[in-house]
């Protein structure tokens, strides 16, 4: 072993190790640049925070900042006055369950009483419950408007983002006038966005949403 150790030390003296390049200049340039970037970033963050503080301090701006809720596939805007609403509209074409091009999620795995294809997705009708599922990856967005003062809040459903609207509001579907909707939970689930309309409170709506499979 001793011989081998001596041989290794001798080998070290014969290794082809290139001359080290001068590093100090390049290192100092990078350190100076990084310090400058950090300073600019700190300044930008401070400016942003100051602008946000000013916006929140001004009643008009604060209202507009807090009037918009958005997740992938859905946006809710709080407006001073709801537009005139149609009470009822067709949900689309009735189809059998096995005709949907993607696997629909069903509350507690129960089959719907009726399934309709329409509005870029699928409407699942159950007694007292209406579920709409659509693929939102392609940029499709469900637009909703609710009157100022309506209970709207961000929620989490199975770790994904959602919005709860706890009162009557307007939903804008393509090719028709805005229609009235009641309590609605909208949330993301992978590539899908789901909308659950049911006359219950948030906790029960969340329980139904979590039962989807």
């Amino acid at each position: 072993m001793i011989d081998l150790e001596l041989e290794l030390r001798d080998l070290a003296a014969h290794l082809d190790v290139p001359m080290h390049p001068p590093l100090a200049g390049a290192v100092l340039v990078r350190i100076t640049r990084a310090r400058r970037r950090r300073r600019v970033l700190t300044l930008a963050v401070a400016t942003g925070l100051a602008a946000l503080a000013v916006a929140l301090a001004v009643p008009g701006s604060r209202a507009s900042l807090l009037r918009f809720f958005h997740i992938r596939g859905a946006a809710v805007r709080l407006v001073d006055k709801l537009p005139p609403l149609a009470g009822h509209r067709s949900l689309g074409i009735p189809i059998p369950l096995d005709r949907a091009p993607f696997r629909l999620l069903l509350p507690s795995g129960r089959r719907p009483a009726r399934l309709y294809a329409g509005d870029g997705g699928y409407w699942l009708r159950y007694p007292g419950l209406l579920l709409f599922e659509f693929e939102s990856g392609n940029g499709a967005t469900l637009i909703k408007k609710a009157a100022v003062g309506t209970h709207v809040e961000y929620v989490r459903v199975g770790g994904e983002a959602g919005i709860w609207i706890g009162a009557r509001h307007a939903v804008f579907l393509p090719g028709g006038p805005p229609v009235a909707a009641g309590h609605v939970l909208i949330w993301q689930h992978g590539v899908l966005t789901l909308r659950l309309e049911v006359a219950v409170g948030l906790d029960q709506a969340l329980a139904i949403a979590r039962s989807l499979r």
């Binding site: 072993m1 081998l4 150790e5 041989e7 290794l8 030390r9 001798d10 080998l11 070290a12 014969h14 290794l15 082809d16 190790v17 290139p18 080290h20 390049p21 001068p22 590093l23 100090a24 390049a26 290192v27 100092l28 990078r30 350190i31 990084a34």
Partner: protein
């Protein structure tokens, strides 16, 4: 153990003195590059690793404990950078012997040729070892680091340096037989 001068230099660098840090880079650039080179096996990777290590060391100076030796602390960062590059490359570049290495003064050509051949075999055997065996031998014998410095550089305990060195020498011996 670091000299009082170096300790002062490190303290000044920790307080944000760029001249002090530059002096540290100049003092350690050769060792940092050599360490990165024997681990990564490639000059361009070694230069990048050493440069990145100094930049990261500068950023981490606030966490450097006053009075601790600077050299193993820096080598830990250098070795990490070099190992990351070796990993991302997916294979290890091979170390080589200097071309047309002159023999020892007074050595006859035949003895010099035999010694050179023996070194070639030894280096080939070293290259065939696993990365962790090769790294510990490189630190101990190619870089002449102490057991303590090797432990800090490779992020292992001194006991592991001892056992790994013993194991690596055994495997090297087997490779040579």
């Amino acid at each position: 153990m670091q000299s009082p001068d170096e300790e002062t230099l490190v303290e000044r660098a920790c307080r944000g003195d760029p001249d002090a840090f530059e002096e540290l880079v100049v003092s350690y650039q050769s060792l940092a590059f050599r360490t990165a080179f024997v681990i990564a096996g490639d000059a361009a990777d070694a230069e990048e690793a050493a440069q990145d290590a100094f930049v990261k060391a500068h950023r981490a100076l606030g966490r450097f404990r006053s009075g601790e030796p600077f050299r193993p602390w820096l080598l830990t960062i250098v070795a990490n950078e070099a190992r990351n590059r070796r990993r991302s490359r997916g294979r290890r570049a091979a170390l080589a012997l200097r071309a047309a290495d002159p023999g020892a003064p007074g050595e006859d050509p035949e003895t010099a040729a035999l010694a050179s051949e023996r070194r070639e075999r030894l280096l080939t055997a070293v290259q065939r070892l696993r990365d962790d065996d090769r790294d510990v031998l490189a630190c101990r014998y190619f870089l002449d680091l102490s057991e303590e410095e090797t432990a800090a550089t490779l992020g292992i305990t001194r006991g592991t340096v001892k056992s790994r060195t013993h194991r690596a020498l055994g495997r090297l011996q087997e490779e040579l037989e």
